[in-house]
């Protein structure tokens, strides 16, 4: 390898990492290194073979692999150094990055680092269901990999816990492949994913949905042979007497994603307890100088297009840092207020236009989204499953009073 110092080192080559690496090169970084533990670039895109990608970024309806391919080609064309089958094992606050691959272990000292490690799925261990530990319990993402890449069907009679997008997409996929999806069980009183998936994955195939239900027991010793579902009361406790047995050989868990941040934690990056990802500012910079973050590693995105945009921002700013540009003071905190679960970025300068992404806690209609007292926007519908994007212009930011050090975001009914 080249002996000049690395300007920007990107950890993880999903859409966030590829966008960051491409943008870092475009912004003038000479040496950009993209490190990926898998055998191929692209992160989760290769297993997401359904369409619905790129509607915002390319104004085109693409599948995951097609969307990924566009960026893989750009990575190849932009003289980015790529290390595949290479795992980053350690990251320190002074940006020492320890890698491990077939050639052994080595430590690099790039001028800046971008964290784009994505997220992982919550597994059975992180939710509590009683029963034995039989074969036939998968996370929805593992099942997606099996069906779309490896060519295995995880089972024939399936129950899915969780109605998020990955769960619904898998309900359709397994049905098309000849399995029978006997129920999608959802704890909340509404379906958790995009409306498009609700219609085209669930209703199109008449898949039964049990809202305000949970799985209270998994049956089977060697292999799953059924689950007990039960209705939930207002406090989310199973109501005695409502239990029902559903025969099945497979249970898929689609119960949420957790940003992958062991490396961030090691480097002393402050994590947001709600998103599970680094606290970032409008430049996608963390509290550790020279370390940037983007994509699902920061917060779980429902649209890949937003992941790409975040990655580009992180890559550009990491490149500027590598070229010696100092970071700016972030003095204003964006705080999640009434009916707002989280806000990204969490810190801003208040000096330039910023795109704020946030999620609400509860669905609502005819609400007003407020940014402190400087901006208010009427919205017809809000849902926890659909991330909100709000551009706050420099003009609005001028309204911020001199001594203000926080803006509370809220999303409440019009009064």
């Amino acid at each position: 390898m080249n002996s000049a110092p690395i300007d920007v080192l990107v950890i993880g080559s999903g859409p966030a990492g590829m966008a960051a690496a491409i943008q870092a090169r475009k912004s003038g970084s000479e040496r950009v290194l993209l490190v990926e533990r898998a055998e191929e670039l692209g992160g989760l895109l290769s297993q997401c073979i359904h369409n619905g990608f790129g509607l915002i970024y390319f104004s085109e309806d693409m599948t995951g692999p097609e969307y990924g391919q566009k960026f893989i080609e750009k990575v190849m064309d932009s003289k980015i150094e790529v290390l595949l089958e290479t795992m980053v094992l350690r990251l320190t606050a002074d940006r020492k990055v320890t890698l491990c691959n077939r050639n052994g272990v080595q430590t690099l000292a790039p001028k800046s680092v971008v964290l784009t490690m994505g997220c992982r799925e919550r597994a059975r261990e992180s939710i509590v269901i009683s029963g034995y530990r039989p074969a036939g319990i998968f996370t929805a993402g593992t099942a997606q990999r099996w069906v779309n890449i490896e060519g295995y069907l995880p089972g024939k009679e399936i129950v899915i816990l969780g109605s998020g997008d990955v769960g619904m997409i898998m309900a359709r996929r397994l049905t098309l492949e000849g399995a029978r999806v006997k129920a999608v069980v959802e704890i909340l009183p509404y379906i958790g994913g995009l409306i498009r998936n609700e219609v085209q994955c669930i209703y199109d195939f008449n898949i039964p949905v049990l809202l305000e239900h949970t799985i209270s027991n998994i049956h089977g010793i060697q292999r799953v042979n059924g689950v007990t579902v039960a209705r939930l009361d207002q406090d989310k406790n199973p109501i005695p007497g409502t239990e029902k047995f559903i025969e099945c050989d497979t249970l898929l868990l689609s119960v949420g994603l957790i940003p992958e941040n062991e490396l961030s934690f090691m480097a002393g990056v402050d994590l947001d307890p709600i998103t599970g990802g680094p606290i970032v500012n409008e430049r996608m910079e963390t509290n550790v100088s020279g370390i940037y973050a983007a994509g699902n590693c920061v917060h779980v995105n429902d649209l890949v297009d937003n992941v790409t945009l975040e990655g580009e921002k992180a890559g550009q700013n990491a490149a500027e840092y590598a070229s010696g540009k100092a970071s700016q003071e972030m003095r204003i905190k964006l705080e999640a207020g009434e009916n707002v679960r989280y806000v990204v970025p969490q810190m801003i300068t208040g000096k330039r236009e910023v795109t704020i992404r946030l999620r609400v806690k509860e669905p609502g209609r005819d609400v007003i989204l407020r940014v402190g007292d400087i901006m208010a926007k009427k919205l017809k519908v809000v849902k926890p499953s659909e991330m909100l994007n709000l551009i706050v212009s420099a003009k609005h930011l001028k309204e911020i009073k001199k001594r203000t050090d926080k803006l509370v975001m809220s999303c409440q009914k019009e009064s």
Binding site: S46, I49, H50, N51, D61, M62, T63, P65, E66, Q69, V147, N148, I149, E150, G151, L176, E177, G178, I195, R196, E198, V199, Q200, Y203, D204, K380, V381, K383, E386
Partner: protein
Amino acid sequence: MTKHVSEIICIVCPLACRVSVAADDERHILEVDGFQCKKGKEYAVAEYRSPMRVLTTTVIATKSRHALLPVRTNRVIPRGKLINCMNYLAKIKVKPPLKAGDVIVRNILNLGSDIIAVGTLLD
């Protein structure tokens, strides 16, 4: 004559309006209600007449490091034909090299849509 009302959820925007389409015994549309914009009305009428979908799936790969090749229809096809296409594609096997955009099945089941590769197939 009886009036049949179908409820169609509009998926054009996140508002997800519930549009009701009333039709007679011959499925002639009598009235459409509940939409909030023109696009929604058009969607509901089209969805009532013939729901069209993109099919995305995989076909078996041989002589390749990959077990499967992801594919899709290059045009929408009637929703009622999705399973027929799946059954047809279950018998298709492909060999490398293939790249995104390559036609795998031309005019599948005479539906006016090709099945094209969306990924790369290497040997």
